[in-house]
């Protein structure tokens, strides 16, 4: 007999366990079921720090958080409503995030002496009052899984034991009324080579589901209705996936072969790994000996007429500065993607931060202005990758695109775009002399100030470029004082002019009479929008704007800033956009800065706004 069903608008679940417990898989499957059901959702994996720690240890804990709802949502959630902890270490490291009254589901079997000690528990928290504040379900996940798998030929005890994550998935699927078919099919495909494992995991999954239905331990089942999202075909996508797809799309739309020069680095490596699988798009991925070579090779490819791109993170991006300076001088397209992580130095490689902005803006010798763009959500990474390529190709300039570890690994439903709707990025190469029978490589398009671009292989246009100062028009080496001053300004002007070619900054100010503007950029979009939304729910007023273009700024930016009494700039750094805004517009904006290696929290934003409104 079915149990009572309770309606919920939104739920945040965190799966946590040992690296070996398959929590990422469990989370991903639950996410697919949830997507299939039509909820809006947002997820965030929380990997252990780079090195794999010993089983059962605190550093070895791996987590996956999903936020799903019957309305559109913006973040993976500040804190979980439900915590699934597969071992003591997972409980220890995650419990602090679970609010009082929250639901806690633990695998009682894992709470052995040994594991408790590894997690630094003097006594077993499942006994005594330690967890009195929570709704605790201590379940013998392992035992019941092994039980359910009895008698399957060819499944080792170890394998049987490892199926427990599917048991947990089955249970959670029941608890939130998720469709089970997608997962059953998934198991079929994933383990097709080993039928006995198909059998095992299917049984574990069903057992978990059945356990929910039958056990006294669970009295209600929850339902979260589908959200009203824009109609269309959706998929889940992470920021790094979206960047990869965007780069391929830019290559197709520009008809230029994509060349990626990259040196592995967390959290950017997966872009290299994914693009390496798109060779049938003519994509060339080059794992260089270091980041300098990665940038150099990409620039060499651009010189030859390819779409040259390099991807890295802070410690690698700094190494590219000299090469990017050369690209600015020879005025060739080059896209540099910085998936930001917490620093300085090696810092906390798996954690997000947005503290590379000023480095990107200014980290090259002498005056070498470069356009800077930033992504705001996993899906937005696709659009910005294309846009960054458009600017690089049209203006013959290196371009930086900033993402971060949170966008890189976080996922959300993505309305799949129609290729026909993508911009045409095709480039006109010079094919003939452009000045009285001669070819002048630094003769510029009067409108874009982009120089003529003749690729090697073009007969009659042979020429040399390089890093020494260039004579205007001819591009010959020049030490002339006035020429240098003029060229320095020309290079700056070329970048400044791009402001006319990018969309004005949109402001979300429903009644148009807010006094406070909350201004953000990059991966903080979700929490900021969430905070603003909460403020408005409370009848207070705040406008929101989010920058995707940091250099040049949108042409209406000054106006927008001028229209508000106060400007609040939340950032995962010590106030970098803040500095730029104050310097350029002399606006006394204030910052909200948290540099914890974690996404900003919606509640904190809400509070920061509230304080300013008082």
């Amino acid at each position: 007999m079915a149990k009572a069903v309770e309606q919920l608008e939104r739920v945040v679940i965190r799966f946590a366990g040992d690296s070996g417990d398959g929590m990422q898989l469990t989370g991903a499957r639950f996410t697919s079921e949830t997507a299939a059901l039509g909820n809006d959702l947002s997820t965030l994996p929380d990997f252990p720090a780079e090195i794999r720690a010993p089983a059962g240890s605190l550093p070895g804990v791996s987590g996956f958080q999903i936020h799903f709802a019957d309305h559109d949502i913006l973040t993976p959630g500040d804190q979980p409503d439900v915590l699934v902890a597969m071992n003591p270490a997972a409980l220890k490291t995650n419990l602090r995030d679970l609010p009082v009254g929250g639901t806690l589901i633990v695998n009682r079997d894992a709470f052995s002496e040994k594991n408790l000690q590894k997690a630094g528990y003097a006594s077993n928290p499942l006994e005594g009052e330690a967890l009195a504040d929570y709704k605790v379900h201590a379940i013998q996940l392992t035992t019941m899984t092994v039980e359910a798998l009895k008698g399957i030929e060819g499944v080792t005890p170890r394998e049987a034991e490892r199926s427990k994550n599917f048991f947990a998935l089955g249970l959670m699927s029941w608890l939130y009324g998720r469709p089970i078919e997608p997962t059953l099919t998934f198991i079929q495909e994933k383990f097709s080579k080993r039928p006995e494992l198909v059998e095992a995991n299917t049984r574990a999954f069903n057992a978990g589901h059945a356990y929910g239905e039958t056990s006294e331990d669970f009295v209600v089942q929850y339902e979260v209705r589908p959200a009203k999202l824009a109609p269309g075909v959706y998929r889940q996508i992470t920021g790094n996936e979206a960047l990869s797809l965007g780069l391929v799309a830019a290559s197709v739309q520009s008809k230029l072969p994509l060349f990626l020069g990259a040196y592995p680095i967390t959290p950017a490596s997966s872009i290299l790994e994914q693009l390496a699988r798109y060779k049938h798009f003519g994509v060339r991925t080059f794992q260089a000996e270091d980041e300098i070579a990665a940038a150099g090779a990409a620039l060499g490819a651009s010189f030859g007429g390819a779409l040259g791109v390099c991807t890295s993170a802070g410690p690698g991006v700094v190494l590219k500065a000299e090469t990017i300076g050369l690209a600015a001088m020879v005025e060739l397209p080059l896209l540099v993607i910085d998936v930001q992580r917490a620093g300085p130095s090696t810092g906390m490689p798996t954690k997000p931060e947005q503290a590379d902005l000023l480095m990107i803006m200014f980290g090259r010798n002498a005056e070498s202005p470069v356009p800077v763009l930033a992504t705001s959500t996993p899906g937005n990474c696709f659009d910005m990758a294309i846009e960054a390529c458009r600017i690089a190709l049209k203006y013959r300039t290196p371009v930086y695109l900033l993402s971060d570890a949170y966008l890189a690994n976080g996922s959300e439903p993505w309305l799949i775009p129609d290729p026909a709707s993508l911009p045409d990025l095709s480039v006109e190469f010079a094919t003939a002399p452009n000045s009285g029978g001669e070819f002048m490589p630094y003769l510029r398009d009067p409108e874009t100030l982009a120089r003529a671009w003749a690729v090697p292989g073009t007969p009659g246009l042979e020429h040399r470029i390089g890093g020494l100062e260039k004579e205007d028009v001819t591009g010959n080496v020049s030490y002339d004082p006035d020429n240098h001053d003029a060229m320095v300004r020309l290079r700056a002007q070329k970048i400044a002019n791009i402001a006319a070619d990018i969309p004005p900054l949109e402001v979300d100010d429903p009644d148009g009479d807010a006094k406070l503007l909350v201004l953000g950029w990059g991966g903080t979009y979700g929490p900021i929008a969430g905070g603003v939304r909460r403020i408005r729910r409370r009848g207070l007023k705040a406008a929101q704007a989010h920058l995707h273009y940091l250099n040049p700024f949108p042409r209406n930016f000054g106006e927008v800033l001028g229209a508000y009494d106060r400007v609040l700039i939340p950032e995962m750094n010590l106030g970098q956009l803040l500095k730029l805004v104050r310097a350029e517009f002399l606006v006394d904006a204030v910052g909200f800065n948290r540099v914890t290696g974690r996404p900003l929290r919606t509640a904190d934003i809400e509070h920061a706004i509230e304080v300013l409104l008082q």
């Binding site: 824009a230 049938h280 070579a293 010189f303 030859g304």
Partner: protein, 339 residues
């Protein structure tokens, strides 16, 4: 700019002179190399627009400005990396790298050895003058220990690199040496390099008459101190071939008197040996150790070329999956529809 770069009409040395005034010190060995290279380019019969010279920074690195081809005077030490990106995306081009002993072996050492290891289709010319010319005469990684220079008033204290030793140790598939003023031989070696598929490394002994004059006089002036290596031939040298090279039982090379040891015990040079050990042993015969210098092609073996393999994988995947279809790619595997 005459358009006869289209391949029609035989090009001459003059066709490869750019309109830029050549700016090296009078008497610099670079002039001789430039002339020879321009001559070789003409012989190759490759249209000018398909030739690219990429360099780093240094006196040597000024080279591309003087060639009427495409070119990039890039940044210090990075030319092999930049040229790699160009070569692998443009197999239709012939890409030459011009570098100095500081550019290639000091700041650029890592890019050089990786380009060689990968066997990218690049021709790398290292102008070795055993000094930093452009920055006015500091010692370089190829300067013999004890070299006095601006930065080493009491003499340098580090052991020099042996460029060919580094190259061979880094799996170079083609490694050769020649001399700036030995025009005929240099042309020969450059033609061989051009003919080699994959990366070809050529060390050119070059005199910097301002900061390190005479570093190579012993071989530049005394033909008798040059050992011309020729594949398949016993290695003899000296005024009338009275001296030769023999391989010891421990694999090292030594200079012998042919009269004493007899021709039959001389090394018969084999450029194509699968193992680089021989090329390495020969590279150890150095001016400062044995007073003579082997020149010519030390090693020339066929190995898979990075560019080809990369292109091959692209064709392979296209064959397997068909040409990439963007809309299919965007769809991915796991979608749902909202109505």
């Amino acid at each position: 700019m005459s358009g006869n770069g289209n391949g029609s009409g035989k090009l001459t040395l003059k066709d490869f002179k750019s309109d830029q005034e050549v700016r090296w010190c009078p008497g610099c060995g670079d002039y001789a190399i430039l002339a020879t290279v321009q001559g070789v380019m003409a012989e190759l019969g490759i249209p000018r627009e398909r030739i690219v010279f990429v360099s780093g920074i240094g006196c040597a690195a000024r080279f591309p400005y003087y060639m009427q081809t495409y070119g990039m005077h890039s940044i210090h030490g990075r030319a092999p990396a930049i040229a790699t990106g160009l070569a692998v995306t443009r197999p239709d081009l012939t890409v030459w790298v011009v570098t100095g002993d500081g550019d290639a072996l000091s700041i650029g050492g890592n890019h050089l050895i990786h380009a060689l290891r990968r066997n990218v289709n690049l021709k790398i010319l290292l102008f070795n003058n055993q000094v930093y010319g452009l920055t006015k005469g500091q010692y370089s990684p190829t300067s013999p220990r004890g070299q006095r220079s601006g930065s080493t008033p009491m003499g340098s204290i580090d052991a020099p690199f042996n460029p060919l030793g580094i190259a061979v140790g880094a799996e170079a598939t083609f490694a050769a040496r020649s001399i700036d003023t030995d025009r005929k031989h240099l042309a020969e070696v450059l033609n061989r390099a051009a003919a080699h598929r994959g990366s070809a490394f050529v060390e050119i002994l070059q005199n910097c008459n301002i900061y390190n004059d005479g570093a190579f006089d012993a071989v530049r002036d005394e033909a008798a101190n040059r050992i011309y290596l020729r594949g398949g031939e016993p290695v003899r040298f000296g005024a009338d071939g009275e001296r030769g090279i023999r391989i010891r039982s421990d694999g090292s090379a030594e200079i012998v008197d042919v009269g004493e040891v007899g021709e039959e015990s001389l090394l018969v040079h084999n450029e194509h040996h699968a193992e680089p050990s021989l090329a390495f042993a020969l590279s150890r015969l150095q001016l400062h150790t044995v007073g003579v210098t082997p020149v010519g092609v030390f090693r020339d073996v066929e190995q898979p070329v990075y560019d080809d393999l990369m292109a091959g994988q692209i064709d392979q995947m296209r064959a397997d999956k068909g040409d990439g279809d963007l809309s299919a790619l965007l769809q991915g595997s796991d979608t749902w529809e909202i109505r």
